[in-house]
Every structure is written in C-alpha cells, then in structure tokens.
C-alpha cells in the first residue's frame, strides 16, 4: 500500500496532534486543502481515519502507518541537516519532498547510515523502526567519534574525518588507520588511547575526528 503525498501529509498532521499533542481529533480546517479533497477518501478507504462530525479521528491502523510516516519525515530532516548540510526552511522543504521517497526499504538504509538516530533536528523523537530494534538486539552500536567511547572500551578505527591534511597525517603517523584496533584508556582531562603497543594522548578536537566502530562487550 502506498499513500498519496497529500494523504501522508494529513496522516502526519493527525498523528502529531493526537499522539504527541494528546488531542482527540484534528480539525480539517487547519489543513492547507479543502475538506472534500480525495485524499480524505483515500485514508478512510484504508480505514486509517474516521471522520465524525466533521473532525478527523485516528484509527488503530492509521496509528501504525502514521508512525512510520513521521519516522520517514524526521529521518529525512536528519539527512538534510547532518549529511547534506541543508538547514532552515530550505532543509525543511526538501525534507518534506524527500520523505515520500523513503519507502520500500529506503528508510532502513538511511536509518542505518545515520546510525539509527532517536531524535529529529528539532528534538522530537523519531519512532524506531525494525532496523533500530535489530541493531540494538545485535549490540551493533555503529560508528561513533572516539569521544563517545567510555574508558576501557575497545573498538576498530572506521575512518578519520578532518579537513586538515596535517592533522590527518599526524593521526596516521600515530597508527590511527582504518582497520586498526584502538583502546580508549582514559577520556578526561585528555583522551588517551592505545594502538598496538603505543599510548597516545590527544585533545577533544582531535578525538572528535577519529571515528570508531564499537565492539559488543
């Protein structure tokens, strides 16, 4: 089942009002399109909503679908902000267009790439999908900056993200290369890590640029 873009938008608005806002129903008057729009028909046809006394009510089927729609919208926001660095109204607008493409497994790909985020850029929760539960069950914590490690934690270096070539070379000279094992032995006041049989101390700015894959304890 694939809903039209309009129908998805109605469902989103309804879901936010009811599930997050705690209201009983949504007044169709606040939507940007008339109350006789075929999109309402479409949703009622799928038994997702019910219109009683001119107000839109959310049905259990719609609750599940709405959650996934919201999830796609907020993942799209994250993608715009974090990866593509498109911010503000422009980012919001693009996210609105993009979310409709995130179906048939594309959302899982994006979610995994973003390391199963739990909140959107505005701080609202992103409803978890199957992939998020799966990742948690597997203990696959994904790729994080070294600053996210606890002392004593061991992992594998995934990549170095820095615009500064000198920093990159300095780190590589210390043995910070993708694929090498790394153990964080201390996180304060400076980061101390061990690669091979050498220990190094670095500051937060450098530690932020080393991305590591956490290992399951």
């Amino acid at each position: 089942m694939k809903l039209s873009e309009k129908a998805e938008e109605i469902l989103e608005a309804l879901w936010i009002t009811v599930e997050e806002g705690g209201a009983a129903f949504l007044d169709p008057g606040i939507m940007a399109f008339p109350a006789d729009d075929p999109a309402y028909q479409e949703l009622t046809g799928h038994a997702m909503i019910e219109i009683r006394q001119g107000m839109i009510n959310l049905r259990p089927e719609g609750r599940v679908e709405g959650k996934m729609t919201i999830r796609r919208h907020r993942l799209a926001e994250r993608l715009m902000m974090d990866v593509l660095n498109i911010r503000g109204d422009d980012g919001e607008f693009k996210a609105c267009q993009f979310e409709h493409l995130l179906n048939e497994g594309a959302d899982i790909k994006v979610c995994t790439m973003l390391n199963h985020p739990t909140t959107c850029p505005h701080g609202k929760p992103i409803p978890p999908g199957e992939c998020c539960y799966q990742a948690r069950a597997d203990g696959d914590l994904g790729v994080v900056p070294l600053t996210e490690f606890k002392s004593g934690q061991e992992g594998e270096i995934a990549y170095i993200q820095t615009g500064d070539n000198k920093k990159m070379q300095k780190l590589m000279a210390m043995g910070v290369l993708p694929g090498n094992r790394i153990v964080l032995t201390q996180a304060y006041p400076s980061y101390i890590f061990r690669v091979g049989y050498s220990e190094f101390a670095i500051d937060t700015n450098l530690a932020r640029e080393i991305f590591v894959r956490k290992q399951i304890a």
Partner: protein, 661 residues
C-alpha cells in the same frame, strides 16, 4: 639495481670519513645509540622530541673513520614539524653512506612504514630493532632473520640502553657495501601508474629516488616541490601541472590510501615475523602510569612530586643547606678573607684590588654568587628535572594540564618549557622550539620571560622573603595572577591557528643513575659556560661604573623611577645588576635586605618587579635568535613596562590595604 648503487659512494676503506645517519621516530633511542657509538654525549631523555638539533660525532671501526649524525625524531619522510624537516635535510642533502633506521620493537608495525619509505627512497638502510628487552618482557617474539629476508636489508636486534647489539651494529656498518638486495615494494596498479607518470617527468639529479620524490610531490610536500623547481628548471611547469592534475583527481583520499597501502605492505612483511601474546602483560610501570594520568590520583601525585622534588630537595636542601654551607661557611667565613689578603698582598694598587676583591669584585662578588648561591640551586634543580624527565613523567603531566593550558593559547606540550623555566629560562626558551605553532612559541616565550623565575632567582627570592611568609604569598600570588592574565590575553590577541595537542606517552621507567648524572652534568656545564663570563663581565662593568662615577649618575637617574614604586634609591643597583642576570639582581636585593634597608612591603614590590623585569642578557639573546629581532624587542619592551607597571600598582595596593605593614 646497479644504477642505484652507483649513486652512493663506493667504499673508501682508508680514505675520508664515511657517514652514518641515525633516523627514526621520536623516543626510540637514537641518542642513546649515538652516545654509545661515539662516546660523546648528547642529551638523552624519556621524552619525545628532546633532540631538536642535529648532533655529530666520530667513531672508529677497524681503522675506518666514521661520522655519526644523530637526527631529531621523525614519523615519516613526509615531514610536518620543524624537527622533522631538520632530520630530513640530512637525508636530502648529505647523502650518508649508511642510514640506520632505529625503531621500537614494541611498535614494529607502526614504525616499519618508515623503513619501507627509506628503502623506497633508495637509501642504504640498516634496520635496528631497538628496546628489544622491554618487548621480550611483554612477551613479544620477533623473527629478525625473516624480517631481513623480507626487507632485503640488514636487521639487528638491540637494546642500546643495555649496550646490547652494539657490536653487531658496528660490524654491520663495517661490512656494509650497497643497498643492492633491497626489496622493491609495489603499490596498487593505479598508484604505480601515477608514480611512474610523475617520475618520468623528473630529469634532475637527486639523492633520493625519483619514485620516493614523486610520492612526496603527490603528497603536496612544499619543500620537495621547491627542490624540484630548482633541479628541473624549464621542465618544472609540466611536472607541476601533472601533480596538480593527479592531486586533484585524488583529492579526497590520497593520503589515506597511501597509508593504507603502506599498512598492507607492513602487514605482509610482519606476517610470521611478529608474534604477540594472547593476553596483554600489564607491567608495574603501566599501573603507575595509570595513576599519573587520572586527575584524581594524578594531581596529588603532582603535588607530592613538587613538594619533595622542588620544595624539599631544591628549596630546602639546595637553596638552604648547601647555600649556607658554600656561601656562608666557605666563602664568607674562609675563602673571601683569605683571597682578599692574598690579592692585597700581591697587588699594591687599591683600584685593581677593588676589581678582584672589592664590593663588586670579580672574585668576591661574581664568583661567590655564581658558585655559592647559583650553583647549588641550579644543580639540585637539574638533578630533579633530569630524574623526572627520564621516568617519562612529563608527557603525562602535559596531558593533565592540556585543558588548562588551552586557555592560554598553548597545548599541554608547553608544560615542559614552563617547568624547565624554573631551572633556567634561557634553556627553556630554546626548548620552546618543540612547540608546534608559531603562536604557541611566542606565547610561551612571553610567559617565560615575564612570569617564570629561574631557579637561581627563585633561590635568592625565597631566602629574601623567607622571614615574611605574607610577602612570599603576595609575590607568588601576583606572579600567578599575571601568568593567567597575560596568558589569556595573549591567547586572545596574538593571531594564528588554535593549537592541537597530541603526544606519545613513552613507557614509565626507573631512570638509570648514570644517565641522570651525565645529563645533569652536561646541563650544568652548559649553564656555567653561559653564566660565568656574564658574571665576570658584570663585575668588571660595575667596577668601571664605580670608579668612573657613571654608576652614581645612573643610580641618581633611576631614583625617581624607584621612588615611584616606593623603593629606596639603593635598589637601583639591584635593577642594574638585574639587567645582566635577574638572579644577580635578586642577589643584590639580598645584600640590601641583610643591611636592613628595606621593609616587607618594599622587598615584595622589589622582588615582584625584578622577577617580571627584563630577562637576563643571555635569555634575551636566545629570544632574539629563536624569535627574531622584532618579536624579541617587542617582548622586551612589553615586559619592562609591565614589570614597572605591576610594581607601581602593587605598591599602591599594598599601601592602600595596609597589607604587609
């Protein structure tokens, strides 16, 4: 292969001296090896980046004269820091007959990448796998013979600090002929194509192989680009264009891919030759290291080190017990009366008597200060510093204070010059060279010349203010406050990139007695060569000033300045002394205090002003050498103004609050 051999000089058995260069990562024992081979002494320490200069020495192997060159540590042929550049200069321009790559056995995997780079550069490489004793203790097993085969170069296992492997190194050097059997290391097809394309455009004559230079050019090495511009002449434009093209194509990942390919090469070389135990062996030293770097245990540990090391050993024992013995008992009680009578017996003219044994006499003042007061303090400080340095404690201290130092625009690395400054600011100014950015070096130089009192000065000021604990607290508080304020302000004002902190933590070791003694001895020697002539010169100038009456005029000229900060006019003498050496000036105050000419407030103001005041001539000269005339001059003016300004304000504040009166 034969073309490569011909680039290096044929063996000249009894001809001119052959050259061997020691290269490798910081803190792998190059300097120890240098000392053992040559019998000379360069400073060795358990602190990465101690050798900032190239040292040269000689040795004889079976009648053949060798020149041994010790280089500052480098992580890679592709250099980043100043020291690394200095080290590479040797490889680029001196064409040594043998290049000995020294590495740490425990970090074979990380350091072999440079061995491969050296081989790739067509250099005559000999590999010394050092610190083998500690590696064995950790349960590591290294198959040197297999490494030899895989690399195609002589490989020697050693523990230079324990004199192990030295004979073998000598005999390998003796029979070394040419780098003919070296392995060729192949990169991926794509990278090889790029290398060939660049190398084929190079026609000039170089010491390093074109292959290695091509790679360096692709890494955007400016120094090599400059070299190529010179050697290639007209062809350079085409070469530069090609490099630009490839560099742009691979802009995203070139450095990373190169490192990964080298890592893969190293992995192949290591396969079968290096076995580590399944379970990490945790040594006592490691446990101690843990304690030193955790704030909760590290800060108490620092306080213990400072209390016993600085206060008890340097302060109470050095500046107290030994100074009393030498200055009080030996000079005042016995030597001075004796030498005065001797000199007066030999020289009949009073003016000349004054020069040697008068109030400012070379012997009665210069030598007495230098030997009686300065020597014990400096000696105990250097023993303390050298001992601590060899334990490997300093890098741990550096990481502990990094966050704090960042507020002053410096990294934790700057803690070493700062601590050393308490021994000798001149030496410390020289060591600021190990700091990475120019901005950091300037800030460190300012703080050293302004707020850090050197041990000699510290000793005198301690004894000067010892009777007034309040005065000591005001003095210390003012200096600390100025350190913080000036540090924060200069971090805000001085432009430049924010520094980054990274530092290798060498294992903690129990220092070897002999090493600490030699190191203290060489530092003392350096110190005395520097200060004794200045003390003598100061005595002569003061004597000249006194007999010509010039001195009197200067004191009169300075009286208003002195009066403005509430000091008696006699202190002008101390400040004039202070221009030669700050401690000399402080010692002058000591004289005034014993005569009872100053009260606690005046002493404090004088001590603060003098501590902040212009660094000694020697430090100023080093500042000029390291930072250039402009920066050194600006710092000099700034420091003088701030010194008197602070004295003025402090005097007013003390008068207003009635503190110390």
């Amino acid at each position: 292969m034969s073309t490569r051999c011909s680039k290096h000089k044929e063996i000249t058995m009894n001809g001119s001296a052959r050259k061997v260069a020691l290269v490798g990562n910081p803190n792998v024992g190059k300097s120890v090896l240098f000392n053992v081979l040559t019998g000379a002494y360069v400073t060795v320490s358990n602190y990465p980046g101690t050798s900032v200069e190239v040292s040269r020495g000689n040795m004889l192997i079976n009648e053949q004269q060798w020149e041994v060159i010790d280089t500052p540590g480098m992580y890679s042929i592709h250099t980043i820091t100043e020291e690394e550049r200095v080290a590479r200069e040797i490889l680029l321009h001196e064409s040594p007959d043998v290049v000995v790559h020294v590495l740490d056995a425990r970090n074979l995997e990380r350091m072999l990448a440079m061995t491969i780079q050296l081989i790739e550069a067509g250099l005559p490489v000999v590999l010394v796998v050092n610190i083998l004793d500690e590696a064995e203790r950790m349960g590591l097993v290294i198959d040197l013979e297999l490494l030899r085969q895989k690399l195609g170069i002589p490989v020697i296992g050693a523990a230079t600090a324990r004199k192990r492997g030295i004979d073998e190194i000598r005999s390998v050097l003796h029979i070394y002929s040419c780098p003919c059997d070296q392995q060729k290391f192949e990169y991926s097809r794509l990278l090889e194509r790029d290398i060939t394309e660049v190398a084929s455009l190079m026609q000039g004559d170089y010491i390093l192989s074109r292959r290695a230079l091509a790679l360096l050019l692709l890494q955007q090495d400016e120094e090599i680009a400059e070299l190529a511009r010179h050697r290639e002449g007209e062809g350079y434009a085409q070469l530069a264009e090609k490099i630009r093209e490839i560099a742009f194509d691979r802009r995203e990942t070139f450095h990373l891919e190169l490192s990964l390919e080298r890592k893969e090469m190293v992995r192949r070389v290591m396969a079968g030759a290096f076995t580590a135990p399944k379970v990490r062996v945790i040594t006592v030293a490691e446990r101690l290291s843990r304690l030193a770097v955790r704030p909760l245990t590290g800060i108490p540990m620092l306080l213990i080190v400072l209390y016993f090391g600085l206060y008890q050993f340097v302060g109470v024992f050095g500046a107290g017990t030994v100074v009393d013995l030498l200055e009080g008992k030996f000079f005042e009680g016995w030597f001075n009366p004796w030498i005065i009578s001797v000199v007066k017996g030999i020289i009949p003219w009073e003016i000349i008597q004054e020069l040697f044994v008068g109030e400012y006499g070379i012997i009665t003042l210069g030598i007495r200060y230098a030997v009686g007061i300065i020597l014990p303090v400096v000696a105990t400080f250097f023993i303390f510093f050298s001992f601590l340095e060899d334990t490997g404690y300093f890098p741990r201290l550096a990481l502990l204070v990094d966050r704090i130092f960042k507020h002053f625009g410096m990294t934790g690395r700057a803690v070493i010059p700062m601590v050393l400054g308490f021994g000798c600011d001149t030496m410390a100014t020289m060591v600021t060279r190990t700091l990475e950015t120019k901005r950091e070096r300037i800030i460190a130089t300012i703080l050293l010349s302004l707020t850090i009192p050197c041990s000699a000065q510290l000793g005198v000021i301690m004894s000067l203010l010892a009777k007034f604990p309040g005065a000591l607290a005001v003095w210390g508080g003012t200096l600390l406050l100025l350190f913080i304020v000036v540090g924060i302000l200069s971090a805000k004002i001085i432009p430049g990139e924010a520094p980054m902190f990274y530092m290798e933590l060498p294992p903690m070791r129990l220092p070897q007695f002999g090493n600490v003694v030699t190191k203290t001895y060489t530092r003392m020697q350096w110190y005395f060569m520097e200060i004794l002539p200045l003390f003598v010169l100061a005595s002569v100038l003061l004597w000249l000033g006194k007999i010509t009456g010039f001195f009197e005029k200067m004191i009169n000229a300075m009286t208003p300045v002195m009066a403005s900060i509430g000091l008696p006019k006699e202190t002008a003498v101390a400040f004039i002394f202070g221009f030669f050496r700050r401690d000399y000036g402080a010692a002058g105050l000591y004289e005034l205090q014993t005569k009872g000419l100053m009260d606690a407030r005046q002493l404090t103001v004088a001590a603060v002003t003098l501590t902040l005041f212009i660094p000694c001539i020697a430090q100023f000269l080093i500042m000029k050498k390291e930072r250039g005339w402009k920066v050194a001059g600006a710092i000099g003016v700034f420091v003088s103004l701030l010194a008197f300004g602070s004295g003025f304000i402090l005097n007013r504040a003390l008068l207003a609050t009635g503190l110390l009166s």
